[in-house]
């Protein structure tokens, strides 16, 4: 862990930080060369009485070089990191045993759906969203009857792959837990999967990272990462009633 970055609390965090550090070094070196050069030129070629300006029309070779090097570097970074991005964002990358959790974003709340004892999330529909049914749960789907719906609290077992099914009710939001290094836009009309493994038990925070309205800065939720046993106990305590009514 680097002292200037948040805790690494997911399976992706160390490699994301590695990429971040390498890209920072690769882009930082030319940044300092250019800025120091700029400073030197500004001082060395400052206005002096009697000095005449020298006009140049550029150097094609130099321009080719300093365009090609960043371009090749960018492409190389993309190719090198491609497999990692596929692992994080690829549609088929979600592990088969991932534990499903529904995350429904709306101005300015996060509604979390847990699958209950059957381990399956019930069907939802935007047409069914109401005050009493904030996630639009479809009660005709038997899998929804034991689902647990809770506002602004994401409870996760540590060490187990999680697949979040992200939906939005109104505008584009973004699911972001800095300690997990996981950020995924949540787009109305789409169900987007995002997977990760929370590795370090603790308390974190979801922050919406897409400006979504005047209350954007208040759109936060607590994240509790616990052991599997603690999670199971919590889930039992919050088990949904038989008919699957929501637990606000």
């Amino acid at each position: 862990m680097h002292w200037w970055l948040p805790l690494q609390a997911s399976n992706f965090a160390p490699r994301i930080d590695g990429m971040f550090t390498w890209i920072l070094i690769i882009t930082g070196i030319p940044f300092f060369i250019v800025e120091i050069g700029l400073l030197v030129f500004v001082i060395r070629y400052r206005h002096k009485p009697g000095a005449k300006g020298h006009y140049t029309h550029g150097n094609t070779r130099a321009e080719m070089v300093w365009t090609a090097i960043p371009a090749v570097t960018m492409v190389a970074l993309g190719l090198i990191s491609n497999s990692f991005w596929v692992e994080i964002k690829g549609r088929n990358s979600v592990p088969a045993n991932a534990y499903p959790i529904g995350i429904h974003a709306k101005q300015f709340e996060w509604w979390i759906t847990y699958p209950g004892p059957d381990g399956r999330l019930g069907r939802t529909s935007g047409d069914l969203v109401s005050k009493a049914n904030p996630t639009g749960r479809d009660s005709t789907d038997a899998a929804s009857h034991d689902d647990i719906v809770i506002r602004n609290q994401l409870h996760l077992p540590a060490g187990r792959p999680i697949v979040a099914y992200l939906t939005s009710e109104d505008v584009i939001h973004s699911f972001f837990v800095p300690e997990f290094r996981v950020r995924q836009d949540v787009v109305p009309g789409m169900t987007i999967k995002s997977w990760f493994v929370a590795t370090v038990p603790g308390k974190y925070e979801i922050g919406c990272s897409q400006l979504c309205g005047l209350g954007h800065y208040k759109m936060r939720a607590q994240v509790f990462v616990t052991t599997q046993e603690e999670y199971d106990t919590w889930a039992q305590q919050h088990a949904a009633p038989a008919k699957g009514t929501s637990t606000p």
């Binding site: 709340e109 602004n152 209350g215 606000p248």
Partner: protein
């Protein structure tokens, strides 16, 4: 002496103007006329209201000694139901006009709850939206017959006035920062409405003699209608909602 005469003349003129002033086909609420009053009773076991987790808003949570609950079904100690809006649904003359009060109806956001939760307001009567909490609330009016609005009040003491130009029963309000905050307004063309409180009673005054349909509205239990014939004097009409 001349001054006194002038004052007297102006005073007499005013008296004549008031006496012969605008007349209404029905007396405004509170004036002479029939009165319909009663209680809204509740039968059965009251359902538990969902507990509100206010941990995200420490300044609101601090205002409660016990865990706050939503006020969806509030059954009073005397077995009556609060937050029921009772109003004259029909029976008033179609061409009747009633003066619009200039005094605003105030809805206050306090302790991350709306006060009142259910209320009536006349068409074009000012609604003053007030924030007594030192934090952001937005108030979203999900009107269908009026112009919807969604305004934010990020600081304590802020007030905003709005009016509604069309009849709408009911018009829901919500705060999107605090999902448990809901309120409901009946926008009516007349002043004959009343909301039950901690004793479950309602009183509608100033009704001209006639036969009316009175409706009682509750956010969970829906509506009940009663036909009431009003003459000069009081009339009692109770309603009963049953637990589902």
């Amino acid at each position: 002496m001349r001054t006194l005469s002038s004052v007297a003349a102006v005073g007499a003129g005013l008296l004549i103007w008031v006496a012969g002033g605008p007349s209404f086909t029905s007396a405004p609420s509170g004036a002479a006329g029939g009165t319909v009053s009663g209680k809204v009773k509740f039968v059965g076991k009251a359902p538990a209201n969902p507990e509100i987790d206010m941990s995200e808003e420490a300044k609101c949570a601090a205002k409660y000694k016990t865990k706050p609950h939503e006020e969806i079904v509030t059954v009073n100690a005397n077995g009556t139901l609060a937050n029921v809006l009772v109003y004259v649904k029909s029976g008033l003359p179609a061409d009747a006009k009633y003066p619009t009060p200039t005094t605003p109806v105030v809805i206050d956001q306090q302790g991350c709850m709306y006060h009142p939760r259910v209320f009536g307001i006349m068409v074009n009567q000012p609604l003053q939206i007030k924030n007594s909490d030192p934090l952001l609330h937005n108030i979203k009016a999900m009107a269908k017959k009026n112009r919807p609005f969604n305004i934010s009040q990020p600081a304590a003491g802020m007030t905003t006035n709005r009016t509604f130009s069309a009849v709408e029963v009911m018009l829901p309000f919500e705060c999107n920062v605090h999902g448990w905050m809901h309120a409901f307004a009946a926008v009516l063309p007349h002043p004959f409405f009343s909301t039950t409180g901690t004793d479950g009673s309602f009183t509608i005054t100033g009704l001209p003699p006639g036969t009316y349909t009175i409706e009682a509205w509750h956010e969970k239990y829906g509506t009940q209608d009663a036909t009431v014939t009003v003459a000069a004097g009081p009339k009692t009409q109770d309603f009963t909602f049953t637990a589902k």
